[in-house]
Symmetry: C2
Subunit: 145 residues, 2 copies
DNA sequence: CAGGAGATGTAGCGTAAGCTACAAGTCTGT
DNA sequence: ACAGACTTGTAGCTTACGCTACATCTCCTG
């Protein structure tokens, strides 16, 4: 086994954050979707979410169980899914983020289709500082150009 | 159970892509790290990666097993980790992406620290179209302001 | 050249997220 | 009011990615 001089360090927390982000990503996607579906159709069923995310209803069930455990939703067997106060807050927050990132990408000149796709992936990994910059940029472009 | 008029659709592929992205994220992070460590110190050991990502050496082992299975690295018991041609290509590609995103965030006016943190999370979710726009923007800012 | 320190490997566990197949509930139309 | 369609729930499997504890290997040093 090779060995080496002074074992350099680089204990970066970036990856720690990335891991944490992943844990909450799904929760955010779900509450956002639930809010949107309820708004559009009056209530949200398991099947609606399964369709939305293109996964089986089983995966949705388990996700909902976690969301319930974490206090974001309320749901009873064979009943529709409701957001709790905490879940609603998270949904609003997520939707805001999503919109800002989307607007930003458009302002950057990215095509509508790609902007929609990328926003989905990016929204969970943007810090509030960067989000502010993105918002400023989007507004700037909107008022100027 | 509530029912509803015409069951609306929205089978979006965004989440499908996000899922796919996640699958390759770790691979990209690893090959990028391996390339960097080899470049800096001559070879890359399991411990180096464990330190880098702040995970146990066991997690690194398993990740390496997957990378090996997928043809990105070569490694023999108790020996250092090498990138294959395919792994090197992926590493270069990832590093490019990373750099562009980082430069872009700096150009956007994000603080150095946040830019480094966010680049880590964002790099895996940026399409090539958006990446081109980011690159153009960064270059623009660099030459103008 | 023998030990011990440090690196690596293995066993076994946990959670998250996906699946299929099957069971059970609910709703709607006749 | 009941049959069939649709929805929801449950059992049990898979893979990825974390972990601790313990075993083994390597390398350096006395």
């Amino acid at each position: 086994m090779p060995s080496r001089s002074p074992s350099r360090r680089q204990a970066d927390n970036e990856h720690l954050r990335t891991r944490r982000d992943h844990a909450s990503e799904l929760a955010e996607d779900y509450v956002e979707a639930i809010a949107e579906i309820v708004e559009r159709t009056g209530f949200c069923r398991v099947t609606d979410l399964a369709e939305r995310f293109a996964v089986s209803h089983v995966s949705v069930n388990r996700a909902i169980a976690r969301l319930k455990r974490d206090g974001f939703v309320e749901a009873h067997p064979y009943g529709p899914v409701h957001l709790t106060a905490s879940g609603s807050r998270l949904a609003l927050h997520s939707r805001d983020r999503h919109r800002i990132v989307l607007e930003f990408l458009r302002a950057l000149g990215v095509s509508e289709k790609t902007a929609a796709l990328d926003a989905e992936g990016l929204e969970h990994h943007v810090s509030s500082e960067t989000l502010r910059k993105m918002k400023a940029f989007a507004v700037d472009r909107a008022t100027e150009g």
